[in-house]
Amino acid sequence: MTTNKSGLDRRSFCRLVGGGIVVFVSVGPSALLSQERRRTYPEDLNAYLRIDENGLVTIFSGKIEMGQGVMTSQAQMAADELGVGLDSIRMVLGDTDVCPWDAGTWGSLTTRVFGPALRAAAAEARTVLTQLGAKQLGVAKDQVVVANGVVSVADDPSRKVTYGELAKGKQVSRLVDEKAVLRSVKEFKVMGLSPKRIDGLDKVTGHAKYAGDIRLPGMLYARILRPPAMGAKLKSADTSAAKSLPGVTVVEQGDLVAVLHAQPDAAAEGIGRVKAEWDVPKPEVDDTSISGYLLRKAPQPRVRSTKGDVAAARAAAGRVFESTYETPYHAHAPMEPHTAIAEFKDGKMTIWSSTQSPFGTRDVVAKELALDPKNVRVITPYVGGGFGGKGSGRQSAEAARLAQITGKPVQVAFTRPEEFFYDTFDPASIIKIASAVDKDGKITLWDYDTYYAGDRGTEIFYEIPNSAIRTYGSWGGGTPPLFPVGPWRAPGANMNIFAGESQVDIMAAAAGVDPLEFRLRNTPDPRMRSVLQAAAKQFGWKAAPGPSGQGRAVACGVDAGTYVALMASVKVDKASGKVTVDRVVCAQDMGIVVNPDGARMQMEGCVTMGLGYVFSEELKFKGAEILDHNFGTYRIPHFSQVPRIETVLVKNDEVLPQGGGEPGIVCMGAVMANAVFDATGARLFRLPMTPERVLAALKKGEKAASS
């Protein structure tokens, strides 16, 4: 049986963590519902925290740290609401036995959706402490103030009591179910600043523990026999040569063939000795023929939105711009491959896993092993990158199963080739757009079909009287079952905005209008206008219709509630087709910024990671066989490719904190395609823009010019 409820009820939680002051918050299901609409959680709690007799505050959060800095930003939020310094906060993340239920760390939701619950819990704790403090000091509660973990009498600061003293010997447990009064921006002391990452020291000294670094007595390292292609059937496996290695354990149970050893390299040697025969499905398609295949297999569209009269606008238009954009499959390729270690003891399964979804992992393992979810505990150490790829991965279930079979703790750590094989890839997609513009440079038509990219990034932020948006399949489903696909940093938005903002550029050039001016002319949205203007100011934008020969460009979008504008300058080597990116400016309005430097790190990370899908990343495959096995052929960004990146945070304290881990990447395709166009006059409709494709586009441009 699986359950979606929290792993622990309130009473057991208090028993587990001991005395002190414990605050739970249940801000109603709406926040959690918006994480995943299909579920309801009438009795679930969103956040817990505890204050102990030393005044230390422990935050229990289901959100995990995979590099995005939420360990620090969550601590900042709690510190401010509680009125303590950051150094009094301890974070416990992603432990299903002691943390509140959470859908998973993705979609830039941590600060946006979980943040308010966490802040409410901390604000309530402050209220409790204020009341207790006032009582102890013998004054009314409006006569005390709190700061730095101390409650004192406003008129006589020498009369004071610390949070630790108040928590001592107490067993206070409070439930917040109404809206707590949160601090206003003016009252922030820790939020809005950029303290050093609290995980920094652990990470530079090598002491930070990732799932693969957990060592348990008697543990075995497992290597599992893998199929050569998705859907291949095992015909036979001869494990005799593996069995002759000293110290190995060989497990053969149906399709599961594994070699285990106390040394990982010996397990690798063992699996290499297994002779297996497979029935491999005949390949129907490869990376060169994928677009046609996907179009042929496309499911019925869903109409996302319509406005005005598209047919009439088409008929009335002097010229209709029709374009088709294509993007391939991408791998997440986090530097830490999927890893888990499982221990089965006294009927309880404990798994340390590199996952973005500890609770999802718990439920998957419970289901596969027919265990009560109460008897499965998932602990999430530091995660070495996720980008959407570390859902409730198979490595945890495999480790758990092998631990159950062998009675020993078992580690399953994907090799890099396994990581490329079992990834849930960013889906290949095709986007077709027909659009038109009138003589004043105003867009009149937007007729948009997106295949497999889903609807994220399709929202129109321009003022267009006639539009239709249809989606065919999405990254969440409806893709032909070649191999699994899933969310990849800002899922779908990268493709949709690549297409949409390239198309806008095409119209701007045809209308003879500077591309920045064209966007401003067509968008009344004040937040979009302000990020565009902020980017232009930082960039030193020089207005000219494209292609201006400057090799500079703009693109903008909205993602995870954040408005983002990118400007970039590039050089194109016309002989080799190689594009060099000199500079990128990224301007964002993300509402209240909890940690400005943390936000900038994410923006820089987005721009840098984006260079990969723009210029080099393209998964090679034949049928369901993945041909990329390692970084030698699947090329992610290197140091020499990284331009100067400048980030601008547009102040907007009117809006609650919005997402920061993804928006910066969504405009990368368009801004680079637009920059290549501005430099050369050649337009690329397909990512990645490899030197060969750039050369081909240049040739085509020449032909068009000479004909």
Binding site: G69, D213, M335, H638
Partner: protein, 158 residues
């Protein structure tokens, strides 16, 4: 073949009796319980497993144990001196030159070797020297800035 390999590890004499064909990475992580050195690709592409051997950056996933006899090996755990972290470690913290942190030990070890060989590299030389270390989170710009700072003597480094 089982043999005895002797080397200095983070300043201490170390003797390992094992199959001399084994790669250093696994011996460090498993036999010696030094898990700061990471596996990223196992094929020499990523640099997550970088350690110093006689002051040079090497990829421990490619380094056979037998090649280490009589050598001096330093891992990320051995970089701190007398409880003080290395200036590069400090600079990485100060610049926020890490996100998930998985590439970080390899980056720092590679940068250490780089600065030992060229104490005052140009920015270009830093980029070239770090080129084969991969970071998926995109901390590159800050990593370069951190190394530049240390090379200019900021953070107490020569």
């Amino acid at each position: 073949m089982k043999t005895t390999v002797k080397f200095r590890l983070n300043g201490r004499p170390t003797t390992i009796e094992t199959d001399d064909d084994r790669r250093l990475l696994w011996v460090l992580r498993t036999d010696l319980d030094l898990t700061g050195t990471k596996y990223g690709c196992g094929s020499g592409f990523c640099g997550a497993c970088t350690v110093l051997v006689d002051g040079k950056a090497v990829r421990s996933c490619q380094t056979p144990l037998r090649s280490l006899d009589g050598k001096e090996v330093v891992t990320i755990e051995g970089l701190s001196r007398d409880g003080q972290i290395h200036p590069l470690q400090q600079a990485f913290v100060d610049h926020g030159a890490l996100q998930c942190g998985y590439c970080t030990p390899g980056m720092i070890m590679n940068a250490t070797a780089l600065l030992q060989q060229q104490p005052h590299p140009t920015r270009e030389a830093i980029v070239q020297g770090m080129e084969r270390n991969l970071c998926r989170c995109g901390a590159h710009q800050r990593i370069i800035a951190a190394i530049e700072d240390v090379s200019r003597g900021k953070g107490g480094a020569a």
